[in-house]
């Protein structure tokens, strides 16, 4: 199996971690989530019964 060839193993490790640590996180970090989720203040809405408007 060519995957078991140990020759490129170290290079692949170095490359993948380099990209994983240096290039990907800035792209994920720039995403902003303006609505902070807060489980403490969230309350379940009252269960209103719902039906179609024409019935």
């Amino acid at each position: 199996m060519p995957q078991l060839n140990p020759a490129p193993w170290f290079l692949i490790l170095v490359f993948s971690w380099l990209i994983f640590l240096a290039l990907m996180p800035p792209k994920i970090l720039t995403h902003q989530f303006p609505h902070e989720p807060s489980t403490l203040t969230a309350h379940k809405p009252k269960a209103n019964s719902w039906t179609w408007a024409w019935q």
């Binding site: 490129p8 692949i12 990907m24 995403h31 902003q32």
Partner: protein, 227 residues
């Protein structure tokens, strides 16, 4: 001739340059950083929704100390799911079929969770090696078994991803070559093979996404245990 089928997994090089580096850059190129505008475009909104809901789901069972892993888990998820799904396109190379890459991620990250656990609460971490309510005569054997299961986790993590993706790609290649070779002589069999290929491709898309998710989920579970 079966060895020919595995040639698709040979880490590609061109004039001595490893092309796996370009394959690994693909996720970075596909996700442009969001602009600081209130209303972002569809792609950015989709990413934002995905990352937000994924992190909310993954981190809710973990206590606050483990939340510092949020960026790492989100990056890992996006990275793996992109690499896996891109590899399903024809003529692309899937870096996650390489055992080296998967072990390169599995071993350090698992080791990080274990070291964190042993540093913060060593008794609690060691306590995981003996389930509650074990009968006394079974204690030594069970500790050995639990230690082995602990040590086998990174191996399982890496090999699971590798094997799933490799097997999928291999099956696709097998069935498609069968369909192609039968196309003129036995067209009915070839059309059945094409039908199978369609189902297989749908399965592989699902497997690509699920395996990336399972990798990150298991890591978050190991983190949960140790934090």
């Amino acid at each position: 001739m079966t060895m020919n089928l595995f040639n698709q997994f040979l880490s590609p090089t061109f004039l001595g340059l490893p092309l796996i580096a370009i394959a690994l850059m693909a996720p970075c190129l596909l996700y442009p950083s969001p602009a600081p505008w209130w209303q972002s475009n569809r792609w950015t909104t989709l990413q934002n929704w995905f990352i937000g809901s994924f992190i909310k789901q993954t981190l809710s069972p973990i206590n606050t100390k483990g939340h510092s892993w949020a960026l790492l888990l989100a990056t890992l998820m996006v990275f793996l799911i992109t690499l896996n799904t891109l590899g399903l396109l024809p003529y692309t190379f899937t870096p996650t079929t390489q055992l080296s890459l998967n072990m390169a991620f599995a071993v350090p990250l698992w080791l990080a969770t274990v070291i964190m656990g042993f540093r913060n609460s060593p008794t609690h971490a060691l306590g995981h090696l003996l389930p509650e309510g074990t009968p006394t005569p079974l204690v030594p054997i069970l500790i050995i078994i639990e230690s082995i299961s602990l040590l086998i986790r990174p191996l399982a993590l890496g090999v699971r991803l590798t094997a799933n993706l490799t097997a999928g790609h291999l099956l696709i290649q097998l069935v498609s070559s069968a369909a192609f070779s039968l196309l003129l002589s036995q067209t009915t069999a070839a059309s059945l093979a094409v039908g199978l290929l369609l189902l297989l491709t749908i399965l592989e898309i699902a497997v690509a996404m699920i395996q990336a998710y399972v990798f990150v989920l298991l890591l978050s579970l190991y983190l949960q245990e140790n934090v």
